[in-house]
Amino acid sequence: MQVAERSLVNLALVRWHLTASAIFMAVSMLGGLAYAFQFNQLYPFPGVEWLSPGRVRMVHTNIAAYGFIANAFIAGLLFAIPRLTNKPILSDRLGWLIFGAWQLVLVLTVGGILAGYGQAVEWGETPIFVDPLVMIGLVLLVINMSVPIFRTEEPGLYVSLWYFLAAFAWTGLVYFMGNYLPQFWVPGTAGAAITGLFIHDLVGLFVTPIGWGLMYFFVPVLLRKPIWSHALSLIGFWGIAFFYPMQGVHHFLLSPIPMYAQYGAIVATIAVEIVVLTVIVNFFGTLHGRSEAVRGNLAIRWFYTGMVMYALTCLQCAFQVTLTFQKIIHFTDWVVAHAHMVMFGVFGFWIYGMFVELWPRAYGRPWVAPRLLTAHYWLTLIGLALMVVDLTGAGLVQGFIWRSLAHWGDSVIASMPFWWVRTLSGLMIVGAQGFFFYALWATARSPVPSRATLPVGVATEPVG
C-alpha cells in the first residue's frame, strides 16, 4: 500500500506546499497581529514607510488567501486527485515549476505591497505587475491537475472532483475579472459591482469549492464510511454552483449601484445559505454513528469544528445581508469578525485538519508531540471564538454610535476596549501557532522510523 501511494502521489510536492503554507501562515498572522496593535495606538513600527499599517493589512489578507490557503489547497489537491482518479498528475516537473512560480508570486506580492504598489482591489491587492504571473500559474495548475481527472478510468467522477473541476473553471475567470476589469476598463460605480463580485467569488468560487471538495475526500476516508446521501451531494453542488456566483453586489449594499442588482444579490445570498445547509446536513449525517471520532481523531475534529463555523457563518450571512442589518453593521467590525470566521474559522481550520493528516505522511514520520497539537486546537479555537464575539459586539456598538450622530471620536473611544480584546485574541491565536510550529518542526526533524514501525493511520490514533 505504501509503495503504491508513493508512486501515485508526489509526496515531495505535497511536503513543500505544506511547508510553504505554514511559513506564509506565520507571515500573515504576524502581519495581522502587528496591525491589531495599531488599534491600541501601540504599533511596533511607527513611522516606518515600508511597514506602514495600511500596507501590512494588505499583506495580511493577501498572504492568508494566496500563501496560507492556496498552498495548503494545492497540497490537498496533489494528494486527493491522484487517489481519486488512480492517475498521477500530468507532470511532476510542471508541479515543481508551479510550486516555484507560486512562491515567487507570493514573495513579489509581499515586496510589492510593502514598497507601495498595492492594487486597490480588496482581496486582490497583489501588485498589477504580479497579476500576469498569477494567471499563468493558475492556468498551469489547472492543466496539471485536471488531466488525471480526464484520464481516469473510474466509472463515475466522485463529488470532490465535481467541485475541483468547477473551481478550476472559476478561479482563473474570477481572478482575471477582479484584477483587470475595475483596474483598467470599468470605472466608478459599475467597477464597484465587479469588485464586489471578485471579493465574493474569491471566497465562493475558489476557496469554498476546493475546501468542500477536500472535505468530501478526507472525511469519508478518515471515518471509513461513505458520504451519507448522494442526493444531498448533488443538491449541494448544483445549488452552490448556481447561486454562489450571482451575489457580488452584497458587498456594496445601499451604495449607488442600481437597486435591482442589490436586491438580486440579497435574494441569491439567502438562497445559497439554504443550499449550503444541505451540505452541512449531509456531513453530519455521515458523522452519525461515528461521532466518537470527533474526540479521538484530531483531523476530524478540526474538520467538523470548521463545519460548525461554516453553519454559523452562513446563518449569520442570511441575516446580515438584509438591508435592515446593513444599516447598522456595514462598515463596522462586525464584518471583520465575519471574515475571520469564514477564512480562518472554516478554511483555516480545515487546513489544520489536513496538516494533522498529511504532515506525517509527507515527512514519513509520526507526530512527535501530539499533545501540543491538541493544545494548538483548543487555544486557536478559543482565540478565534473570542475574536469573533468581541468584534461582532464592537460592530454593533460602532454602528449604533454612528447612527446616533455622536462625534466620530466617540465611536473610536468606545471601540478601544474591544480592540484590546481583539489584540488579546490575536496573541492567543499566534501563541497557539507556536505549539503548532514546534510540533511541525520536531516531527520533520525526528529520525525516520524503520519501515515496520511506520504508522499508516497516524492521525486516527487517539489524541488528547
Binding site: 495599531q38 488599534f39 504599533y43 511607527p46 495600511g54 500596507r55 494588505m58 504598489y117 498595492g118 492594487q119 486597490a120 480588496e122 491587492e125 481527472i149 480526464f150 466509472p155 463515475g156 472532483l161 473541476l165 473553471a169 472559476w170 475567470l173 475579472m177 476589469l181 475595475p182 483596474q183 483598467f184 470605472p187 466608478g188 460605480t189 459599475a190 467597477g191 464597484a192 459591482a193 465587479i194 463580485l197 471579493i199 467569488d201 448544483w238 454552483a241 454562489y244 456566483p245 451575489q247 457580488g248 453586489v249 451604495s255 449607488p256 442600481p258 442588482a261 438591508l323 444599516k327 456595514h330 462598515f331 463596522t332 464584518v335 454612528w402 447612527r403 450622530l405 471620536g409 473610536v412
Partner: protein, 204 residues
C-alpha cells in the same frame, strides 16, 4: 453527467458568466448612459484649496508642481489618488454616503452614480470599512494646514485617533513633499463638486 468531467468545467464557466452578467454586466449597461469624464476634464475646475496650497507652501509647491493650472492640478490629483491607494487608505475610509443611519446628516448628500463616473475612480475606491469617517464629502471641511498636521501625526489633532502616521509625506522641515501636497489636493477634491445651499450633487 458524472461520467463526463467536461460537464463540470462547462458548468463552472456557464454559472460564472450567468452571475457575471447579472451582477456585473447589467450594472455596467445601466450606468453606461452616464458619460465618463477624464482626469483632464475634471481638472478644468481647479479647487480653491489647490491655489491655497501654492500660497501655504510656495517653495515646495513650485518645486513639485510649478504653476497653479489645470495640468498641475490633474497631476496632483493623479498622484494623490495613487498615494491614497498605496497606503491602503481605502481600507479604513469609505467613499460613499448611504441613504440610511443618518449618514446624510453626518456627512452630506447621499452619493449618486454620476459622481463616480470618471477616471479618477478607475479603480473605484468605495471601501468596505470605516475605522475613520467617510471621505467623499471631505472637501473644504478642514484647512490644508490641518491636513498636513493630521497626516504627519494624527494624534496631534485627535488624541484618540488610531490612524497611522505618515512622516514620509514630509521633508526634513516637516513641510509636505510631492506626495504630501498631492494627497492633500486629492483629499480636498473629494466632494468639491457638491453644490452649496440646496445640497445638489452633480458630476465632478
Amino acid at each position: 453527467m458524472e461520467k463526463f468531467g467536461a460537464s463540470f468545467l462547462i458548468a463552472g464557466v456557464v454559472t460564472f458568466f450567468l452571475g457575471f452578467f447579472l451582477q456585473g454586466v447589467m450594472p455596467v449597461l445601466t450606468l453606461s448612459s452616464i458619460p465618463t469624464r477624464t482626469v483632464e476634464e475634471i481638472a478644468q475646475n481647479v479647487i480653491p484649496q489647490f491655489e491655497q496650497l501654492a500660497k501655504d507652501y510656495p517653495e515646495e509647491f513650485a518645486r513639485y508642481f510649478g504653476q497653479v493650472d489645470a495640468a498641475s492640478f490633474a497631476r496632483a490629483l493623479d498622484l494623490g489618488r495613487d498615494t491614497y491607494i498605496a497606503e491602503a487608505c481605502f481600507h479604513c475610509h469609505s467613499q460613499f454616503v448611504r441613504p440610511v443611519s443618518n449618514e446624510d446628516l453626518r456627512f452630506g448628500p447621499v452619493s449618486t452614480p454620476e459622481e463616480y463616473q470618471n477616471l479618477m475612480n478607475l479603480p473605484h475606491l468605495f471601501g468596505t470599512r470605516r475605522v475613520g469617517p467617510d471621505l467623499i464629502r471631505l472637501a473644504g471641511l478642514y484647512s490644508n494646514d490641518w491636513h498636513a498636521a493630521h497626516l504627519y501625526k494624527p494624534t496631534n489633532v485627535a488624541p484618540y485617533s488610531v490612524m497611522p502616521e505618515y512622516p514620509w509625506f514630509f521633508d526634513d522641515d516637516k513641510r509636505p513633499n510631492e506626495r504630501g501636497l498631492a494627497l492633500i489636493t486629492y483629499l480636498q477634491w473629494l466632494g468639491s463638486w457638491v453644490e452649496e445651499g440646496d445640497g445638489g450633487v452633480t458630476a465632478p
